[in-house]
């Protein structure tokens, strides 16, 4: 195992896949000469040159679509968005084209493209720079969505994403690029898309949390342990396809579930998990499923409002208290 920052794990995955396969290239704003806005692509230009590490103008729709066309025509693009907040401008290419071309042409077209970049909020960046998009893209058929919480998952899953013949949205948390974690040194380390992971074993309640919210759940679990509550944490890692059996098996054991999600509540990931659980594990539930999400409100700037807006360990503990009927 090697201790790597999130950004280093991502860089290693890209580097290894570019070395392995000539058809893989990366493009995006400031990815080449500036070495990446968040330094995920540092050093890649020096190594692979201007053919395969490509700076783009601020033209999200244009370069995302160029990636789609290049993928149709046999290449394997990695398109970096400076954040997924800006990828909204490219949503037409992702939602209307990347996700549908294969289906509409009766399978003639394959779409091996990865759209990646930071997701959700960083500190106090205001309403247009703080949205979590994994739930939104997961809504659309034909897209795979990954939002990882740890460097190890990031490396193994990004390599899978690059090798996948479908469009994959690979999301990273803006606040987590500097976060360190143990990463496997196994040669060609691959984690399959669609497999979640029990990150903490427990018997009293299942907490489902991915991305940045996994760390919030972990904090809450440590606190709850002191109070005698044994939390099991499942990180689904990929939002779609979702490892539902893993979640259901856990609930059969704990009989209680809290979903923690960094997106807004309505029609989001937490809502979907809540529905699936009541359908698949209704007889095993001792309490209604609870969710912890952002409020149905845009991101505020003021520090105190921002802190109140973002889900924290306290919110998770409250939800766990509800499902365990502890005052």
């Amino acid at each position: 195992m090697a201790e790597l920052q999130f950004r280093e794990a991502i860089r290693e995955a890209i580097d290894e896949e570019m070395a392995r396969e000539e058809k893989v290239f990366i493009m995006g704003e400031e990815v080449a000469e500036y070495n990446g806005a968040y330094k995920a692509t540092e050093g890649l230009l020096d190594k692979y040159g201007y053919k395969r590490v490509i700076d783009t103008p601020i033209s999200e729709l244009g370069f995302a679509g160029i990636g789609v066309g290049a993928a149709m025509n046999g290449l394997r693009p990695i398109v970096e968005f400076m954040t997924f907040n800006f990828a909204v401008l490219a949503a037409d290419q992702i939602i209307n084209h990347a996700s549908k071309a294969g289906y509409m042409t009766g399978g003639q077209i394959s779409m091996p493209i990865v759209f990646r970049g930071p997701n959700a909020s960083a500190g106090q960046l205001g309403a247009t720079h703080s949205v979590a998009y994994d739930s939104m893209y997961a809504h659309f058929p034909g897209l795979k969505v990954i939002y990882t919480s740890e460097p190890d998952d990031a490396k193994g899953l990004l390599k899978s994403a690059i090798r996948d013949d479908n469009p994959v949205l690979f999301m990273e948390s803006e606040q987590m690029y500097g976060m360190k974690g143990e990463v496997s040194e196994e040669e060609d380390y691959i984690i399959p898309i669609g497999k979640g992971k029990i990150k903490r074993e427990g018997s009293d309640v299942t907490v489902v949390a991915h991305g940045k919210m996994y760390h919030v759940a972990k904090q809450a679990a440590a606190q709850l342990e002191k109070d005698g509550v044994d939390v099991e944490i499942i990180d689904p890692r990929t939002v779609k396809p979702l490892d539902l059996p893993l979640i259901v098996e856990s609930i059969k054991k704990t009989n209680r579930c809290v979903v923690v999600d960094e997106a807004h509540p309505f029609a989001g990931f937490a809502a979907e998990i809540g529905f699936l659980i009541q359908r698949e594990a209704f007889d095993y539930l001792d309490a209604p499923v609870q969710r912890v999400t952002l409020p149905d409100v845009n991101a505020p700037f003021a520090k105190n409002l921002f802190d109140a807006w973002l889900p924290d360990a306290k919110n998770v503990i409250e939800a766990v208290n509800k499902v365990t009927y502890r005052n």
Partner: protein, 366 residues
Amino acid sequence: MAKKNTDEVNFAPRGIGDEKDGAVQKGVDLPAPTKKKHKSLGLSEDDLKAMYEQMYLQRRFEERAMQQYQKGKFGGFLHLYIGQEAVSTGTVYALNDDDDIITAYRDHGWGLCRGITPNEGMAELFGKKTGCSKGKGGSMHFAKTENHFWGGYGIVGGHIPIGGGLAFANKYNQNGRISATFFGDGAVDQGALHETFNIANLWGLPAIFAVENNGYSMGTAARRHTVNEIVDRAKGYGMKSRVVNGMDVFSVYEAMKEVAEEVRKNSEPYFLEIRTYRYRGHSMSDPQKYRTKEELENYQKNDPIERLKTYLKDNKILKDDGIQEIEEKVEQEVLDAVEFADNSDFPDESELYDDMFAEDEPYFHN
């Protein structure tokens, strides 16, 4: 640098001009400033003093803001306008007070110039309820709609159509007002600009679109992100255009005055490329490896504030002590603003839910 020219195939930007490290690049060459003196531009001595005060305020406000940011008094992004003050000041003096102005996230100078008080501005940076946007917007989202300043916007190019919409409403209402939309050179690559230019000319919208070409979009020099001369974009849409020296407040004033008159009279859009320079990094986290100190110093020789100061002295409008008086007044105002911001309250947590909907009792789905 990487093996740019040895690659058989490469997608390095073709750009305009040759790479000359450190030299002033084509594409951000400053056109000659206007030769006109203030009287023939229709500016009084009092106007000049006020303009000087305004430009000095914008600069000191931001220098203090930077200091407070470094002290950890507030977080988020901080994009400084330092170096570009002649653009906001020349424009605001040239337009009518009820003409509409909208800009991108580099918005402090614009806000101050359009009547956001230093107190309201600094408090917004601190995220306090006394800020111009009640602490909800922060650095990128200053706004004061009662003064027809429609705010700063954080999605590059996203506000360009909105500027067209402000003009649409003015034409619809036949109120004689025009709109002026400002954006950076990076924004000219967005589809939003092209769609808006087409519609604006098609419908004869009374709108000025102005790019503040400060040479860089984040770490990318203009010639590396966009082809040909930016000012020529207008041609494809049959729009009139011109290039303006944005380091000289008289030049901006003159151009804006003439263009505004034409736009108002004929109800037609107009495109300006205002060439200027940003002295600071893109934001506070930018190490600025993409440019040399020499290049920066070269532009600082054209500093808009120093230029106006020299003019005031050469034309015996103000002596050193008069200048000093203005500067001390501004300095005090800015220090007071820092104190005001520091002493103001954060919004109450219950205000998190305010302003989402126009209703008194909005519906939330939590």
